[in-house]
Assembly symmetry: D2
Homo-oligomer: 137 residues x 4
């Protein structure tokens, strides 16, 4: 997997009680939430809010595949940085590599495949050109 | 608050890792989920599924107020029973008393106020007559 | 309920996909998460991190009662501000009033009762003096 | 990936409001919860409850890798069946293939790698013999 480039986007977030489980650490499923928050902020930074995509463009980006490895436990109060890097850009889908780090230490990483679909029908559709052009390569 | 009557509806559910937090017990906010699961099964038992309400009647029941007391901690693997009892039935809203118990022991209880709204506008509307007639009194 | 004072603490957060439900709005149970994030940041601002409370002081603040009213729906991408104000300070418990607002508009508000307990036994214990002294009155 | 065998374990569950998002479908991250509920019930059926593993054996099964594909959206009120099949059994880890189906239709599938660790240290340890012997091959 492509390593995070210093130029890649990164979003910082905090671990709260809601994120932990009875093992005293972050519940692994929640990394999918953290990764999505980072992708949402990254898209917003490129000029595309989720609600605007939904109501104006009538499309949604739907996650079709996720591959994650959980390497080190995160705990209550930890601050983590979640990176976003496009590793493949297709006609109707893209693949994104993401890492969660705490003070540089890798906690979890993986790739997320995302498809562009029409709202309502959930049929695949072409990624709008303005988004395509805005994506870093 | 009205005590659970043996005739009241009750739904049984299990505590999983997803429900716990780093204190080793159920995260209190999750009782709102448990209570809603019980209300959903109760409505279903009366003949009203959530998706049918949403797509056919074009209404949703929206929670407008919740009051909960958390009395004893629940833990991983516990089986809990969540009761449902109507305590007030108005034109466009109803109030429901609920309790979560583990082998009879009270863990959490409270009241939930629910409004009937049109989907989309979220404007209050009259509770449909067929539902009103089906509710136990 | 005490209205938010301009001097009160407030934490800003964003609404993500994870926070919404099929009605297109924020799932009401998630306000309890937002309120807790704000209380956590407020305590941190006073010098008390959750993990330090847990591992050093061997105590936890356990939510014993929550009363919330959900007034206006929040949606994807909304930015909300969640306030924190102490309304009662007892020996082993405190009561906090909180509001969630979007650009000043009240979305949800309520009071949270919190007990100080020993970790492990979950027995009530006195709120440590350093915390008590740090709380704004 | 190994296809679900009719002899494999399967757990049935219901989709509630808490599981959906503003796209009107199940939020993909929640399949990790559904998959874990099924694994927990499967382990319990073999005689191993999570809380007993935690407090008696002082171990926990920690998820170290997840690979999921989301194929068809699930919706409010859907009933889904989640299967569990061991595809690899190592000294300190195992790999499990899982599928979520609605009336036979495949909604999501994937593999989950799980490591056996000591509680507290989170160091890998050998899967206890009684569990190892109980696992279907």
């Amino acid at each position: 997997m492509k390593r995070a480039d210093p130029a890649d986007f990164s979003a910082r977030m905090r671990i709260y009680w809601e994120d932990t489980d009875a093992a005293g650490i972050v519940f692994y499923a929640n990394y999918l939430k953290f990764f999505e928050r980072a992708r949402t902020e990254w898209l917003r930074g490129l000029g595309f809010g989720q609600e605007a995509l939904r109501t104006q463009a009538n499309i949604a980006f739907i996650v079709s595949e996720t591959r994650l490895r959980y390497r080190r436990p995160a705990r209550l109060d930890d601050v983590i940085d979640v990176s976003v890097a496009v590793v493949h850009l297709g006609q109707a889908s893209l693949e994104i590599a993401q890492e969660a780090r705490r003070a540089g230490e890798l906690l979890a990483d993986g790739t997320i495949r995302i498809g562009c679909v029409e709202l309502g029908t959930f049929r695949p559709c072409r990624i709008p050109n303005d988004i395509r052009l805005a994506l870093p390569r």
